[in-house]
């Protein structure tokens, strides 16, 4: 499977996926001009990944701020992860945030509350 490697821009985060490491990293700011279009390749990658024999996936989010459409897309992404989890795939999410940035922490808590059965770790990183 081909990996995704998108560099960060002013309004979009860096995205890196690794098939061999079973990992996805999303870091930066997220308020794309067209959020759903921007994240479609990532959603496609995740769907394709879960069709392979890989049994685990680790995601790292480090988002300074995002728009509400991104919040919606992330929810949909978590939804995909939840489906995979209930199909016996092992999912770990690390939600990294700057402890000074209360909203970033709260955003992580929101996802944790919405997906109670998933392993979502809130990681404060100054």
């Amino acid at each position: 499977m081909e990996n995704l490697a998108l560099e960060a821009t002013n309004s979009t985060p860096e995205i890196r996926t690794s098939f061999s490491d079973n990992s996805i990293e999303i870091r930066g700011k997220s308020y794309p001009e067209n959020t759903f279009e921007f994240y479609q390749p990532l959603m496609d990658w995740v769907e394709a990944f879960f069709k392979t024999d890989q049994t685990k996936l680790k995601l790292t989010f480090e988002i300074q701020y995002f728009n509400s459409s991104t919040s919606k897309v992330f929810y949909d992404l978590f939804d995909l992860l939840e489906d995979a989890r209930s199909n016996n795939k092992s999912i770990t999410v690390n939600w990294e945030y700057d402890p000074e940035n209360v909203s970033a922490e709260e955003a992580g808590e929101d996802f944790k509350e919405d997906f109670e059965d998933m392993e979502i770790n809130l990681v404060g990183k100054p």
Partner: protein
């Protein structure tokens, strides 16, 4: 000559940190946020981080951009993609504010009023559960944000969003709003 002195006095009186009037685009938004971010990323006022200010500015501007983009698909007269954006510190309240305005079609005023009023008096907890409920509403690739924008803004605000509609031009109503953090 333009009365810059009067403008300057007006901005000073209103604690303006930044103000813009004119053509708006995604590029403009990213440049404004980038410029503010360079100056304000470690800035903290009354328990609000700069990131909250950016989020509100982003939601406001993308609301306007989406509104203008939507016009291409309906058969109405197309309003110019112009807007007003501003942020500063209200000296009397000692609070950070973000405000903005854009022209809308008069018939859309009711819909906007209903949207803002329906969340104006919700508690933080109610806002949170409304937000999560709305976010959940199905994988939908066409929705522009599923009406989460005002909710996101209200969640970060310390009082109900203030807004008004004014007939200042023939083309449409000026919809303006102000948010206090």
């Amino acid at each position: 000559m333009l009365d810059i002195v009067e403008l300057k006095k007006y901005f000073r009186k209103n604690g303006t940190i930044f103000a813009y009037e004119g053509f708006i685009s995604h590029t403009l938004l990213t440049n404004i946020i980038q410029a503010l971010d360079e100056k304000m990323s470690n800035w903290k006022v009354l328990n609000h981080s700069a990131q909250d200010v950016f989020t509100i500015l982003i939601e406001l501007t993308q609301n306007m951009l989406n509104y203008y983009a939507m016009q291409k698909t309906d058969a109405r007269t197309v309003l110019h993609c112009h807007g007003i954006l501003s942020m500063g510190i209200d000296i009397e309240k000692n609070r950070v504010y973000v405000s903005g305005g854009n022209l809308i079609h008069p018939e859309d005023a009711d819909k906007i009023t209903e949207r803002i009023d329906s969340i104006a008096n919700l508690s933080k907890k109610e806002l949170k559960s409304r937000y999560r409920e709305l976010r959940k509403s199905g994988r939908d690739k066409t929705a522009k944000g599923a009406g989460l924008g005002f909710l996101e803004i209200q969640r970060k605000a310390s009082e109900p969003i203030q807004y008004q509609f004014d007939e200042i031009e023939k083309e449409g109503l000026l919809f303006s709003l102000q948010v206090f953090l």
